[in-house]
């Protein structure tokens, strides 16, 4: 497996379309998310020219995981759609804070771990580590993400410094919360973590 990152125009030819198809397969078809999107192509208003994607691929080129990074100094998912998860605080707006979203690790056998389980596989941990490293290269000191309850403890077990930004709320029938991931602590973990080749 190898992991690459970049904006839409920096990804190789056809990869962004592949990624959109993969996201549709995972989030719409498998997880059942009710998204307003074109069949077979998952994208929303936060897939912009400045959006950064992190894509994990098997050696045969098939996508096995992805993540999306957005700077909080421009519109992002938590700030625009889920601000109630911040316990009354204003949504972060800083070049040092990035949002992690559309995170998934879908393995080659077609098994997707959803909910809290999506952070438990070695591929997911590697993907998360690379996502954090990518955000750090762009100046991020913290990440924030909307996640299912249970992700926080899995992130902690994997050695990441994660903590909740507010109380969980039941949204769409699922308990979600806003989670901080401290980049500085994670960067040290990433350098000591063996990457899957």
């Amino acid at each position: 497996m190898h992991i690459i990152s970049g904006s839409r125009q920096n990804l190789s030819d056809g990869l962004y379309e592949e990624l959109a198809a993969y996201r549709y397969q995972v989030f719409v078809e498998h997880l059942g998310w009710q998204l307003d999107t074109i069949p077979g192509h998952e994208a929303d208003q936060f897939d912009r020219d400045d959006t950064v994607y992190v894509v994990a691929r098997h050696n045969d080129g098939k996508i096995s995981g992805c993540a999306r990074l957005l700077p909080t100094c421009r519109p992002y998912l938590l700030g625009e759609v889920f601000p109630e998860l911040l316990n009354g605080l204003p949504a972060p707006h800083s070049p040092a804070i990035w949002e992690l979203s559309r995170f998934t690790a879908f393995d080659s056998n077609g098994q997707v771990k959803h909910g809290a389980g999506q952070f438990s596989s070695p591929v997911a941990v590697s993907l998360l580590g690379e996502s954090i490293a990518t955000a750090a290269r762009m100046g991020a000191q913290r990440l924030i993400t909307v996640s299912p309850v249970g992700v926080e403890r899995l992130l902690r077990r994997a050695g990441f410094h994660a903590h909740r930004a507010g109380p969980p709320m039941i949204l769409g029938g699922h308990p979600l919360f806003a989670c901080w991931i401290e980049v500085a602590d994670a960067s040290a973990l990433v350098t000591s973590t063996m990457r899957i080749q």
């Binding site: 009354g88 605080l89 909910g115 809290a116 309850v149 903590h163 909740r164 109380p167 308990p175 919360f177």
Partner: protein
């Protein structure tokens, strides 16, 4: 009252001095913490743990999580893992691991954080003094059975 060491969004809950800080932590003294009432939000089973369990896993244990919130403004959140073990006709439900929250406990004058380690210790004591097991069991049976 605003700490001289940090910025706070002043948010009082009646006679209780509870502050929501810009770093996301809700700050209050230990004395105040033990007067706060927490209500059950949701509990669930460790579904991923169940599917990933080794073949020799103890079949007499069930694990899960539970989330509680305070009846205050700002809202405090408190979550922890639990383990239910059965044997010899008895069932025992115990807290597992450290709690997760947005709470930072301060000294009585609310000028100094006691820190994450002491805060967790105080939260553990709070949880262990709460009669939470019955509520969690009721929630689990309603949700999964």
């Amino acid at each position: 009252m605003i700490s001289k060491n940090r910025q706070s969004v002043e948010a009082f809950s009646g006679p209780l001095h509870i502050f929501l800080s810009v770093d996301g932590y809700v700050r209050l003294s230990g004395q105040t913490l033990y007067t706060v009432r927490f209500t059950h939000l949701i509990s669930g089973l460790d579904e991923f743990a169940m599917t990933d369990a080794p073949s020799d896993a103890n079949q007499n244990t069930i694990s899960g999580y539970t989330e509680w919130v305070s009846e205050t403004t700002p809202t405090m959140t408190l979550g922890w893992d639990w383990l239910l073990t059965t044997g010899s006709g008895h069932a025992l439900c115990q807290r597992q691991g450290v709690p997760r929250s947005n709470i930072m406990v301060t000294d009585e004058y609310q000028n100094t954080d006691l820190g994450p380690v002491m805060s967790i210790t105080l939260l553990e004591r709070l949880i262990d003094a709460m009669p939470w097991q019955k509520q969690v069991w009721h929630s689990i049976t309603n949700r999964y059975i």
